[in-house]
């Protein structure tokens, strides 16, 4: 266990060095946040029919999405691992007396957490201070706040389990573009990062109930804004745990399966 935590620590510390990248990320997130909010404003003012979220909840939801984007998006690549696969440095991973699935899991965990630490805090602080109706509101209640934090942590463990699957698939496909990229785009959409899940057409909403993606960030953020009540939130938490277990199991098995077939090419 200690070795895995050391991987986490090393990646975390290394990730904190990239301050310029974080700054660029933050400005992108602000830009996207404002664009989304403007679009929904226009949408709400034209006001046709009933809308599934009130404007202030939606604004908060969008800002939370932007603040934690580095943590919750599928569109994230741990270049180190992909490079390792392409260059064959993975040889060195294979001669370590530890489980490679967990090695990668904790590497990605460290990287993601350091990325999000640098990006989320400034965005949250600034958006809370923004004038209404553009601001990130405070949580609906203390209980909802605590529950959403717990749920976000489990959600982040779930997205990292999913992120670990992609390099494992790449072990066989040799290239992370193609299959993985298509999957990543669909997964981001179904996570509610582009359009919040309450706005999905009914059929898509039904489908996404049976998928893990809405349990990454949609659940904690909707608990935060009060769109999901505590009772449903607790049920969601249970489902999150089940998905986390399933995805880790799949990754673990798939890694072992692929490792038997992997061929490190070249001298």
């Amino acid at each position: 266990m200690k070795a895995y935590l050391t991987y986490f620590k090393l990646k975390f510390i290394t990730g904190l060095q990239y301050r310029a990248a974080a700054l660029a990320g933050i400005s992108t997130q602000f830009f996207f946040g404002f664009v989304y909010i403007m679009v929904y404003f226009a949408f709400y003012k034209s006001g046709s029919g009933t809308l599934p979220m009130d404007m202030s909840s939606l604004t908060s939801y969008i800002w939370l999405n932007q603040a934690f984007y580095a943590l919750i998006t599928h569109f994230y690549k741990d270049n180190e691992i992909y490079n390792m696969i392409k260059t064959g440095n993975i040889s060195y991973e294979l001669i370590r007396p530890k489980n490679i699935f967990y090695m990668w899991y904790f590497k990605i965990l460290g990287q993601r957490y350091s990325n999000v630490l640098l990006r989320s805090i400034p965005i949250i602080v600034v958006t809370i201070l923004l004038p209404e109706p553009y601001n990130l509101s405070l949580p609906i209640s203390f209980n909802a706040f605590i529950l959403s934090i717990i749920s976000l942590i489990i959600g982040s463990l779930l997205i990292i389990a999913l992120s670990t699957l992609y390099p494992i698939i790449t072990l066989l496909t040799m290239n992370e573009k193609g299959v993985v990229n298509i999957f990543v785009v669909i997964a981001d959409l179904l996570s509610g990062i582009i359009v919040p899940i309450p706005f999905f057409p009914p059929i898509l909403r039904k489908i996404s109930i049976f998928l893990p993606f809405q349990y990454i960030s949609d659940l904690p953020f909707r608990i935060y804004v009060g769109n999901i009540n505590i009772h449903d939130g607790l049920i969601g938490l249970g489902i999150q745990f089940i998905w986390l277990f399933i995805i880790i199991l799949i990754g673990y098995k798939l890694m072992n399966y692929n490792l038997k077939r992997v061929v490190v090419q070249g001298g």
Binding site: L5, Y7, T87, S91, Y92, I95, K98, N99, G266, G267
Partner: protein, 326 residues
């Protein structure tokens, strides 16, 4: 039973055949053709504890494939391999604790951080105790001369410096077997010598079994007594380097510096050439020994200077390759 026992290992790779050209590319979109390459076939050998083995062969002979199989990275299609009672690819986690591997063309050090931080990571990965870690680290720093470079981020190191750190990183956990896959690739003469001396001492003091592949034949001569030559995936020669040398390496070039005229006829002298400063002779040591020849020459003329050049092991290997038609 020997420490390392390899029996009839074979591994075939499946390669997609791709011909050049648009038409062929289009065709291969619908129908792929594959070609099967036997990287190693029926390789067998055994190695005792504490040996240094030079594993040589031309490019694409199957050297790295063998190393990968022995270190548990690759599953062979057929064959058996028992190292210290374990099968590398089956008991992977337990087995790899006992081995250290240096892949000369790859890197295990983390690019962004100093070598010492990677060492700390390795300490946890291999569950090295604090005492062992401190002792080994101190030892390696001293012998590989890492004092000044261990705290510099790896990306700023030169190739030679990095390679020394790589070797140290592979030895922190005191492995019983060390695989060196071209450890001196791209190193200058001084670094090479340092690395060689280090490997020799390691083998002597800790009885580490070392399997070394290299295209630099001087590495092999400096380190290995026994060599295994493979070509096209088969073991062609397994035995003492000196025996091989005496069989193939019988020609010597002798340059003699003299102002006098030398007239000499003897069996064993293959060519004699007059140069500006004296004579160049090529002799066959099976027919005439060097001392015999020198004796004869010095009776006739005064030798100002003499230079005896060993036919380099490179030539020897070229001859070997020719002999075995690989």
């Amino acid at each position: 039973m020997s420490f390392i026992e390899v029996r009839q290992i074979s591994k075939t790779f499946k390669l997609a055949k791709k011909k050049s050209g648009l038409k062929e590319a289009f065709k291969s979109f619908f129908k792929r053709e594959y070609k099967y390459i036997e990287a190693v076939s029926d390789i067998s050998f055994s190695i005792e504890k504490g040996e240094i083995i030079g594993y040589i062969g031309p490019n694409g002979a199957g050297k790295s494939t063998t190393i990968k199989i022995l270190s548990g990275i690759l599953n062979p299609d057929r064959g058996e391999c028992i190292i210290d009672g374990m099968t590398p690819w089956k008991d992977r986690k337990k087995f790899v604790k006992k081995i250290g591997v240096v892949f000369g063309q790859r890197s295990q050090l983390w690019w962004d951080i100093p070598t010492e931080d990677t060492f700390l990571l390795l300490k946890d990965i291999y569950d090295i105790t604090d005492d062992d870690y401190q002792r080994n680290k101190k030892d390696l720093i001293e012998r590989l001369n890492l004092e000044d470079i261990i705290n510099i981020p790896v990306r700023q190191l030169s190739l030679g410096q990095r390679m020394r750190c790589e070797i140290a990183a592979s030895l922190l956990h005191n492995p019983e077997i060390l695989f060196l896959d071209e450890p001196t690739i791209g190193l200058d003469a001084v670094s090479k010598q340092l690395v060689r001396d280090f490997i020799k001492r390691l083998n002597k003091e800790k009885q580490t079994t070392i399997i070394l592949t290299s295209h630099d034949t001087s590495d092999i001569t400096a380190l290995a007594k026994r060599i295994i030559l493979i070509g096209k995936g088969k073991v062609l020669y397994d035995g003492n380097l000196r025996v091989l040398k005496s069989k193939y390496d019988t020609e010597k070039n002798i340059s003699i510096k003299t102002k006098e005229k030398l007239v000499i006829k003897s069996k064993g002298i293959k060519t004699k050439k007059k140069t500006r400063e004296g004579y160049d002779l090529v002799i066959d040591t099976n027919e005439i020994s060097i001392s015999e020849l020198l004796n004869k020459i010095s009776k006739k003329i005064t030798i100002e200077d003499i230079d005896i050049e060993n036919n380099s092991i490179d030539n020897l290997i070229v001859k070997l390759y020719e002999d075995y038609k690989i």
